[in-house]
Symmetry: C2
Subunit: 183 residues, 2 copies
């Protein structure tokens, strides 16, 4: 394996927001030349594949300002400071859907945009769902519609571009694979 | 379906870089209150699932400054201005791997981080690979190691976290599903 690493020569902090931070690093390339890297720092997130006792996938419909459209996603949310991902997954499931679960199993963690951001999404499988009384509500700037879909409906929603984000496409493909494998 | 839309009240442009642009929008929420949205604009990207005649997946190993580590990904790259995604996929495949292909089929397009970025990745399946003579090379600030892996090796690399980004996890899952379905 050759050395591909880029060494940081300097860091310019550009923006520090509520959710993301932006910096531009000057790096030394493997050939000794220099280049600039525009980098977003993000706290990381969780997403939850939650299946009801009627074998439906719990989804939330949400307006995404970055896309200027409303899309259907699995429940998800950002990690709070020093929060464990599994705790965050339970919290977000409750806040966004009103469900609690018996078990929360980590399926996969992936970086969403390694070219410019360090955001990682931890995808969990929630089992044993039940509606929680007096469930915690959404953040004050969050508005979602709760939906429950069969796997067929979710696959159709991908074809129709109503499901169109990486974590939810991953989730639907994961469930399809489990079904085909008879799990 | 209730109205979830957020209306833009003002836009503050914070940063305009080579790859990404950052702005903060003030929005009017469905309940009439206001909130800030930190938004990254990105030109969009393509990624290519390319299978050799020996039934191996073409991968590139690359240092990702945002993650401060070297990871294994399917070939990918950003759209140039007004470039068609299919043309970009052919160009990136050639530049990063030296392969050309007989057909380039769009499998799926998904947003990587809808919470803060408009980046979309168009994932293509390249068929009929052959090495191109005098293939175009990499960008001057790009350094990658070419690799070819079996599906088993790729699944193992996911377990070992050497494959850990959304588009490549999607690709491996897609190929696994095709194999199980006998396609």
């Amino acid at each position: 394996m050759s050395l591909l690493e880029e060494k940081t020569l300097s860091t310019e902090k550009i923006f520090s927001g509520k959710v993301i931070h932006l910096q531009v690093d000057e790096v030394k390339l493997p050939n000794g030349k220099t280049a600039k890297r525009e980098l977003i720092k993000h706290p990381g997130a969780v997403a939850i594949i939650a299946i009801t006792t009627e074998n439906r996938i719990v989804m939330v419909e949400q307006f995404r300002k970055a896309l200027e459209k409303t899309i259907i996603e699995i429940p998800a949310g950002k990690l709070e400071k020093e929060e464990e991902p599994a705790d965050c997954a339970k919290r977000e499931l409750e806040e966004e859907t009103g469900y609690e679960c018996e078990s929360m199993e980590l399926l996969n963690s992936f970086y969403t945009s390694p070219g410019f951001a360090d955001e990682i999404v931890h995808v969990y499988l929630a089992k044993g769902l039940s509606k929680k009384e007096n469930a915690a509500g959404l953040d004050e700037d969050e508005f979602v519609n709760l939906m429950e879909m069969t796997l067929d409906e979710a696959q159709q929603a991908i074809k129709e571009n109503r499901i169109c984000d990486a974590k939810t496409v991953f989730a639907v493909q994961y469930l399809q694979l489990q079904e085909v494998l008879g799990k």
